[in-house]
Amino acid sequence: MFLVGASGMGKTTLLKLLYKEELADKGRVIIDGNDVATIPGSKLRRSMGIIFQTYRLLEKKNAYENIAYGAEVLGIPPAEVRRRTDEILELIGLRDKAHRLPSELSGGEQQRVAVGRALINQPRLIVADEPTGDLDPENTDRVLEILDRVHRERNATVLFATHAVEVVNRLNRRVIRLQDGRVVSDTTGGYWAREAAGTP
């Protein structure tokens, strides 16, 4: 599912409300039938994977350790952490670069590591805030492909915020458009692209 709109229209704010980085002044935020205001933030985020435009990787840990970190801090047993990390490295296509530090990886590879870290705890909801904003078309495709696979194979909901028309149009998915903090359209398929082109 894409969340689209120009910069400053409220995409990031909406995502922050979902993972309780910000609290709603008015109204309620419901996820899976539960009001997030009643759920402790840590419990809520344990069922989520969060990805940002900037990769925010730990510079002194290699790709493998960066991905495993998300599970280790939650006390997942080491054998299980290894199993999950190996599986994710396969999924993001970085098995051969598992022991490289972030500084030894390209921007696209670093973002794939960040995606891997978001997937380590097998989230049911993945919140991605402009994850391809700094990537070239080739790496953008790879990240989209990974997230699409996660959606199809793991049955996870992926909420992908972007202002880039070309990204939205690569997949035939639900598109929610925000303007001035309000939903102005909710369609499936390249609607936003047609609207942007003046042919709704």
Partner: protein, 291 residues
């Protein structure tokens, strides 16, 4: 927090300490010095009463009769004085005889005539702390010539003890504050260094106490290391001091208490001080609410 998390946090804490080498080292040095001072101060305090009693026991008042007065004639008057517990006659000839086996009769006679030592009286005080007024009263007794007592010695030692007690308290307070601020600063640096880690932990669902645990464990390890170091140094110094006292002031030998309790307090204080510092530093960065 399960077992794996504890292992993981311990490993991270160890790496964190190594990452902030200089700040960690400074904290350990300051904490160790403070704990040593604290231990020394507590040990001294614990022994002050004992030292005072022993010192007081050393305060003998020796009374020499004036010319033409027999020592025996002063016995009754001195015993009647308030503050006097008892009086013993010390025979001058007896003193002379006691020296014979030490120096040999010939040598002694060559050096001193047989009547070199006058008879004197040894006065036992009811309250050694009130020696001054009693001595003044003794001086006023008819027939008393000279009065000798360990006033100067005892007074100086008391002054030193009291000075140490007061100065030690001020010094300890200052050092405890410095050690606390030092551990606070080290932990604050650790928190700043790990801003990204803390953010990631939050995103994957670690609660505020889980994130804080990292810094508390790190602070605990620093405090524990300082305590053990201070405890070991204190144990060694305690032994050295005991031996020095035994050789310098034999009558104090065996009178000082073993520093076991003090070492226990030192071992406890270090981690507590460091954990409080770590707790405040992490609280400022993390807060407590699980939003």
């Amino acid at each position: 927090m399960n077992l794996w998390t504890v292992f993981y946090r311990l490993r991270e804490a160890r790496q964190g300490i190594a990452r902030n080498t200089w700040a960690s080292l400074a904290t350990v040095v300051i904490l160790t010095l403070t704990l040593l001072m604290l231990g020394g101060f507590l040990w001294l305090n614990a022994n002050l009463a004992q030292i005072a009693t022993v010192l007081e026991r050393q305060v003998h008042v020796r009374v020499f009769p004036a010319d033409g007065t027999a020592a025996e004639s002063l016995l009754v008057n001195l015993e009647a004085l308030p503050g006097v517990a008892g009086v013993e006659l010390l025979d001058g000839e007896l003193v002379y005889r006691q020296l014979v086996p030490v120096f040999g009769l010939k040598t002694l006679m060559a050096a001193l005539p047989a009547d070199a030592f006058a008879d004197s009286l040894s006065v036992e005080l009811a309250d050694p702390g009130e020696a001054g007024p009693v001595v003044e009263r003794i001086r006023l007794v008819d027939g008393v010539g000279d009065v000798i007592w360990g006033q100067g010695f005892a007074r100086v030692l008391y002054q030193i003890s009291n000075g140490l007690r007061r100065g030690g308290a001020i010094l300890i307070t200052g050092f405890l504050t410095a050690a606390f601020l030092m551990s606070l600063t080290t932990m604050h640096l650790a928190v700043l260094n790990r801003e990204v880690e803390m953010q990631i932990q939050r995103w994957v669902g670690v609660g505020p106490w889980g994130i804080r645990a990292q810094f508390l464990i790190e602070a605990f390890l620093l405090g524990l290391f300082s305590s053990v170091l201070a405890g070991a140094v204190f144990l060694y110094l305690g032994e050295v001091i005991q031996r020095a006292i035994a050789s310098l002031v034999p009558f104090m030998s065996g009178q000082l208490s073993a520093p076991v309790l003090v070492i226990g307090i030192v071992l406890l204080t270090g981690p507590v001080l460091a954990v409080v510092g770590g707790g405040i530093a992490s609280h400022r960065a993390i807060g407590t609410g699980d939003r």
